[in-house]
């Protein structure tokens, strides 16, 4: 995986690294990422994890704010359907978040920059390969400059 990253950066000719913000549910995906670490799985460090109680807790504003602050990709990961610690949080997320992705796409914001996944506490390997895959995709998509760039008009003085 380290090898993949190097080749992507070399291909780009810069030392740019994508920034991926990941919102993980406490009960499954965060534990899955923990397991990946404990199992000494190697995966790219481009991902920055924010731990939340549930994928149902993810307000679309979290995603938008991440993009505003310079994220190149956002990932939301929770328990597999049926496994939610709060019984239905991920079912709600499964309705809300894909709809939000549609809205982003409709407005011209590349929907490939917003990922949703289910990773259980036992899926350390799925987690590390998922992160490797989306990091590779983030390299291919390049920096997401539209959002952070469209800030306030040039400051004077």
């Amino acid at each position: 995986m380290t090898e993949k990253k190097t080749t992507a950066a070399q291909r780009d000719g810069t030392d740019w690294q994508p920034r991926i913000v990941a919102f993980l549910c406490n009960w499954c995906s965060y534990a899955g990422a923990d397991l990946a670490g404990m199992s000494r799985n190697d995966y790219p460090a481009a991902i920055k994890i924010v731990r939340l109680p549930c994928s149902g807790r993810v307000d679309p504003m979290f995603v938008l704010k991440s993009f505003e602050r310079g994220a190149d990709m956002v990932l939301v990961s929770g328990c597999h359907p049926g496994d939610c610690h709060y019984s239905s949080g991920n079912y709600h997320a499964r309705r809300k978040l894909p709809a939000f992705r549609e809205l982003l796409g409709f407005m011209g914001i590349d929907p490939r920059r917003f990922k949703i996944s289910w990773v259980s506490a036992a899926e350390g390997n799925k987690w590390s390969s998922l992160v490797a895959d989306i990091t590779e995709e983030a390299y291919a998509l390049g920096p997401f400059q539209e959002f952070p760039k469209c800030t306030a008009p040039e400051k004077t003085g």
Partner: protein
């Protein structure tokens, strides 16, 4: 300024029955106020008229200029203080009332609904009128007007504008919305006029943390319009008021139509058709689609 209906010559039969129904409801104490449409010199759309006496109800009108959605007044405490509210509704307005009922912002006994059958307002009819599924408001306390033919629903026509936008490449869409959103002056007229934006404290007014940047630059404007569209997803009834009042003509209705179309496509749901429906984001199904989830 106020031109009352008494001065208006040739009231139509609908207007006569509307005035009669409103005056009767006020006179017998059924309602404290009837909110309907009136004419005001210099305005090319009908303005809201609050009738608190049978005489004032003589000013009510109903014609092609009655564009506004009066359901906006129902949740307001200053309106509720006037007593039980009588409200003149077209089919589209009734859909907004249904959402307010379903969200328990108001209860059915708080309102006295005077439905008016309507084949469409404005000349030429608005887009929303040409695809309107409720020309005949049902479930009102009184329903007035001649019966109107209900055209069969044509989803492709309803979604024509959305389909046109979706046919563009993602870069073209971004350029389009960037151009549109740059114009936004953050007057929040879209929010003020929306019958379903009734939050006492809107997310843009929340500052700790500040979710939406308040200065009118593109990034904040995008955030505001995304959040507005998403808060109305599965709720918006497509009355088109936001787009009508936008001082810089941002096609806000297009965003709402996109999301409404999505709710229909994914969950077979059209907002506001009944007061007891279940909004898509308040429920879930174990068999919901899993597309695009890794």
């Amino acid at each position: 300024m106020h031109r009352t209906g008494e001065n208006r010559m040739n009231a139509t039969p609908v207007e006569e029955s509307l005035r009669e129904a409103a005056a009767g409801a006020i006179a017998d104490g059924t309602v404290g106020v009837v909110i309907g449409y009136g004419h005001e010199a210099g305005s090319d759309v009908a303005t809201p008229l609050f009738a608190r006496t049978p005489e004032q109800a003589r000013g009510l009108v109903f014609d092609a200029t009655c564009v506004g959605n009066l359901a906006i007044y129902l949740p307001k405490p200053e309106v509720r203080a006037l007593g039980r509210t009588g409200l003149v509704v077209k089919g589209c307005d009734l859909r907004a009332v249904n959402v307010l009922l379903r969200e328990h912002v108001i209860e059915r006994e708080d309102v006295f609904l005077i439905g008016v059958r309507c084949a469409g307002v404005c000349e030429p009819p608005l887009h929303k009128c040409t695809v309107c599924p409720v020309h005949d408001p049902s479930g009102c306390d009184v329903t007035l007007g001649d019966s109107v033919e209900q055209p069969t629903a044509d989803a492709s026509r309803a979604n024509a504008l959305v389909a046109e936008m979706e046919a563009k490449s993602i870069e073209e869409r971004w350029e389009f919305w960037k151009r549109q959103m740059t114009k936004c002056v953050r007057c929040y007229a879209c929010r003020q006029v929306c019958p379903l934006c009734y939050c006492k404290r809107c997310i843009v007014e929340k500052t700790t943390p500040q979710w939406v940047e308040t200065s009118p630059h593109l990034r904040g404007n995008l955030a505001w319009n995304v959040v507005r569209a998403f808060h109305l997803t599965g709720r918006c009834v497509g009355c088109g008021e936001c787009e009508r009042v936008c001082p810089v003509d941002i096609p806000l209705g297009l965003l709402n139509q996109k999301m409404a179309g999505l709710m229909e496509q994914w969950f077979d749901f059209q907002s506001g058709l009944a007061p007891d429906e279940q909004a898509p984001f308040t429920t879930w199904d174990p068999n919901d689609p899993e597309e695009g989830i890794l």
